[in-house]
Symmetry: C2
Subunit: 153 residues, 2 copies
């Protein structure tokens, strides 16, 4: 009986040529990084008000909170195809663990959505209320980054 | 009387060093381009179903339509600061006309939101319903691109 050869099996599956054959997921990475930029820009506005670096304005605060909530409603599946992790391509810090923990990812994204609702409810009150609600949102960001994002290199 | 020297005046105003002094709006550009990528990815899913290139699946279609609607709910103001047009910086095709036609921009973005609601309503029906609703969404994309986006160079 012929012994199993991993190299032959891999070659037969065409896996050796992965880098050349790999699909181009750079658009997916831009899409997901773009949504995080939108979160960051709007969190920056609300953080500025919470810290008193920017005058509190109810309409601006509400719009920023609404935008964060809107991003949290984007279904993440199509933005994260298999093979778009940081071991498979350049330009992303997304750890392969993301694709091994889909249920946890979903729960963490849902937690952002819940915290965003709290921010929407607080935005019209005052800067102090925003500060408290921002902490909850920031906690959901950090939970995901700690588990699923590679450190900056 | 000394003759006016354009070069001296420009130097006095510090304009020669504009590129170095300009604010960095690359994050804003990534944010807005990212949201358009999210639209494109989800329109691609729905377009694939409408053309029969991908089997119709109600849940996948609904999720894609919901994501498009979510993006349409992102407030655009903070993503488009003055000075982030294609005459002021690299990496964007955003025409300066955007900043001269804010009311029209708002109306065009609202039209996308309305068309996205139609897509949400159609997504659960069948591929033909999606096709019809997609045309309306595509029309709102084109209206904005024709008016406010420079051609690819």
């Amino acid at each position: 009986m012929k012994r199993f050869s991993f190299a032959v099996a891999v070659a037969a599956m065409g896996l050796i040529a992965v880098p050349a054959l790999a699909q181009d997921f750079s658009g997916n990475v831009k899409a997901r990084q773009g949504q995080f930029r939108i979160l960051a820009i709007n969190l920056g506005i609300l953080g500025g008000m919470a810290k008193g670096e920017m005058p509190y304005d109810a309409a601006t605060a509400q719009a920023a909170a609404d935008s964060i909530a809107a991003v949290s409603m984007i279904n993440q599946g199509p933005l994260w195809p298999q093979g778009s992790d940081n071991m498979s391509m350049e330009g992303t810090r997304a750890l392969p663990a993301i694709w091994e923990n889909q249920a946890d990812l979903g729960a963490k994204w849902a937690a952002l959505g819940e915290a965003a609702k709290g921010l929407q409810a607080a935005a019209g009150t005052d800067a102090a209320a925003i500060g408290a609600a921002l902490g909850a949102v920031g906690g959901t960001c950090k939970a995901c980054h700690d588990a699923y994002r590679a450190p900056e290199s």
